[in-house]
């Protein structure tokens, strides 16, 4: 258990990044999310904006920043679909808040925790999406839980590769 808790100074430090990273990485995530499914077809089991939201929320350890990051990326993601704007926004807002809240308490450098966190938040986002669509809006939506499971696994795999790459962009004191 001590391994999982953030009790050292290094674990509790807030990660800082150059200003362009805050802009370019989310935009790149949105663009790649729109581009890659064209080449991968139905096997595009990942959600890059969610992975980026979780990364910055964990790194900044600020629930407010995580909430805003999730809301903005979710709203932009919604704007690229033909659905109502706000469904993904709500889901990713909650995901960003939870990731930042969890990041305060646990060691976010641990790969196993990163993997588990992405998996759980991906499933949570899918559940919130379906809940909003079918319960809040009262609309019909066919969904396949197997696809959501694969997407959660895909997000975890992407996070394992992407998080160390983004860690290199940190500003060290």
């Amino acid at each position: 258990m001590p391994l999982l808790t953030a009790n050292t100074r290094r674990d509790l430090e807030v990660h800082r990044y150059p200003a362009p990273v805050y802009l370019l990485v989310p935009v790149a995530a949105l663009v790649l999310q729109a581009l890659l499914p064209r080449f991968m077809g139905r096997y595009a089991w990942f959600d890059l904006p969610l992975v980026v939201t979780v990364y910055f929320a964990l790194g900044r350890r600020s629930p407010i920043q995580g909430t805003f990051m999730g809301a903005i990326l979710g709203l932009f993601e919604d704007a690229l679909t033909h659905h109502a704007i706000g469904i993904n926004g709500i889901a990713k807002t909650i995901a960003g808040y939870l990731a930042a809240s969890v990041g305060i308490r646990i060691d976010v450098q641990n790969n196993a925790i990163r993997l588990l966190l992405n998996f759980a938040l991906s499933l949570l986002c899918s559940g919130i999406y379906v809940f909003i669509y079918r319960v809040l809006l009262g609309m019909e939506l066919d969904y396949n839980w197997l696809n959501e499971l694969f997407r959660a696994l895909g997000n975890s795999a992407v996070a394992l590769i992407l998080f160390p790459l983004l860690d290199r962009c940190q500003v060290r004191d």
């Binding site: 663009v31 729109a34 595009a44 704007a79 808040y97």
Partner: protein, 445 residues
């Protein structure tokens, strides 16, 4: 109070953002005429602005990526495929010729169809003009099967225009931006297109399912539908012109919600998951356009020219048949016709006897003392079967000029060609030839 706000500020920010988004969602949903909830088809100004921003952020990088990919592919094709262009051009020309003929053949059916539609007061739409566009991106979500084109309002695109490929239909334009547009694919759950099965003539509505497959819903379970059957657009949805290919029936499954109905899963004719270029139908006409009329008249002319050429060939063949000597002699009974002669498998056609033979008449020169030409140079090679006929002629001419002149064959006139020719053709008809044994000793000389 202030400490409470500071203490729970994270939670308060979350709640404010959530409430704002829920209120925003509520303004975008309307109850439809059927009592169900649905998205408002016309976006509000705020929603529209957000979509425009998202498009403005995402489209330029997508366009750049697509442009570089197209540029590389274009270089490759232009450089390497140029070698096959000539052959392809010839093949395409052949295809155009064939299609023109087929088009002309179908013209009468189309005109009849138009007349019947006029009687039924049903206006058939024909594709009038299209705009080619490049697919540059997608929504990125499998709950929203939409993709983006690199052409928008500036290229004349508008909402509800049909998007097709050469293989079949793809979707319809849902939203148009200044330089790009959003297309709703036919395999999206909220799409809808009127379709008809080609042989059964069963009509239905095409939409997508959760797996991204296109399916026809609301078909009664007692219908017999075979996999592989073609599906076409029905033309009643005012978006897709009638008769465009949609796909083929892949399988039939039970409707999970209604027992009496089945869903027909369709394999789309167009590769919807891997689209590069598409055509947007920007205008349709209730009648053939001027360009189409021009094409049809060209086809008709071509067809007429081809028919006239065939007729000309037939006439020429008939004339040739009349002029050539027939193999059937009307004066002979059927069992004595040359065709029935079994003794000689290749019957010899003899020319008629000359009325006034002169020195140029084959064989007649033998009797003239100054000719110096053997009249029957080929006599030794004459087949035995010709012997009776030679004697039948009863000419009574000199047996052999060679024996008379004492010269070898062909030396009298120096005309070696005629000599060799006659030797090479032992079956050449010689009606006035003499007996073969008369020249045999000379050959031995």
């Amino acid at each position: 109070m202030e400490s409470l706000f500071v203490r729970y500020r994270n939670l308060l920010v979350l709640l404010v953002l959530l409430v704002a988004q829920i209120v925003g969602l509520a303004t975008q949903v309307r109850r439809t005429d059927s009592g169900r909830m649905g998205f408002d088809p016309g976006d509000g100004s705020g929603v529209r602005l957000l979509r425009l921003w998202a498009n403005a952020v995402v489209s330029p990088p997508e366009r750049a990526v697509e442009g570089s990919k197209t540029g590389m592919a274009g270089f490759w094709q232009n450089y390497f495929d140029l070698r096959n262009v000539r052959k392809q051009n010839k093949d395409l020309q052949d295809t155009i010729d064939r299609l023109r003929l087929e088009q002309a053949a179908l013209l009468e059916d189309a005109r009849q169809g138009q007349r019947l539609q006029g009687l039924m007061n049903f206006q058939q739409k024909y594709i009038y003009s299209t705009v080619a566009a490049q697919v540059i991106g997608s929504s990125g979500s499998d709950q929203s099967r939409v993709f983006y084109l690199d052409k928008g309002k500036d290229a004349g695109l508008a909402v509800d225009m049909a998007v097709i490929t050469a293989d079949g239909i793809v979707g319809k334009i849902r939203d148009v931006f200044p330089h790009s547009s959003q297309v709703l694919a036919i395999n999206d759950q909220s799409s809808g297109a009127g379709v008809i099965l080609e042989t059964n003539r069963i009509r239905g509505i095409l939409r997508g399912n959760a797996e991204g497959e296109a399916q026809i819903v609301g078909i009664l379970a007692d219908q017999r539908i075979q996999p592989g059957e073609k599906v076409l657009t029905a033309g009643g949805d005012q978006i897709f012109p009638r008769g465009l290919p949609v796909g083929v029936v892949e399988k039939v499954v039970r409707d999970p919600d209604r027992d009496a109905f089945i869903d027909i899963i369709i394999k789309p004719a167009a590769h919807i998951d891997r689209l590069d270029e598409v055509l947007v139908i920007t205008a349709t006409q209730p009648r053939f356009s001027n360009q189409q009329q021009q094409d049809i008249s060209t086809s008709e002319n071509l067809k007429g020219a081809e028919a006239a050429e065939a007729l000309e060939k037939k006439k020429a063949a008939e004339i040739m048949a009349e002029r050539l000597p027939g193999l059937i002699d009307p004066n002979l009974p059927a069992d004595q016709q040359p065709l029935h002669e079994t003794s000689n498998p290749s019957p010899v056609i003899r020319p008629p006897l000359p009325l006034h033979p002169d020195r140029f008449t084959p064989g007649a020169a033998a009797g003239s003392p100054d000719s110096g030409v053997a009249p029957s140079e080929s006599t030794p090679e004459t087949p035995a079967s010709t012997k009776p006929r030679s004697t039948e002629s009863g000419s009574g001419k000199a047996p052999s000029s060679a024996s008379a002149t004492g010269k070898p064959h062909g030396t009298g006139t120096g005309d070696t060609t005629s000599s060799s020719t006659s030797k090479a053709k032992p079956a050449t008809p010689r009606p006035q030839t003499t007996k073969p044994q008369t020249s045999t000793p000379q050959r031995n000389q």
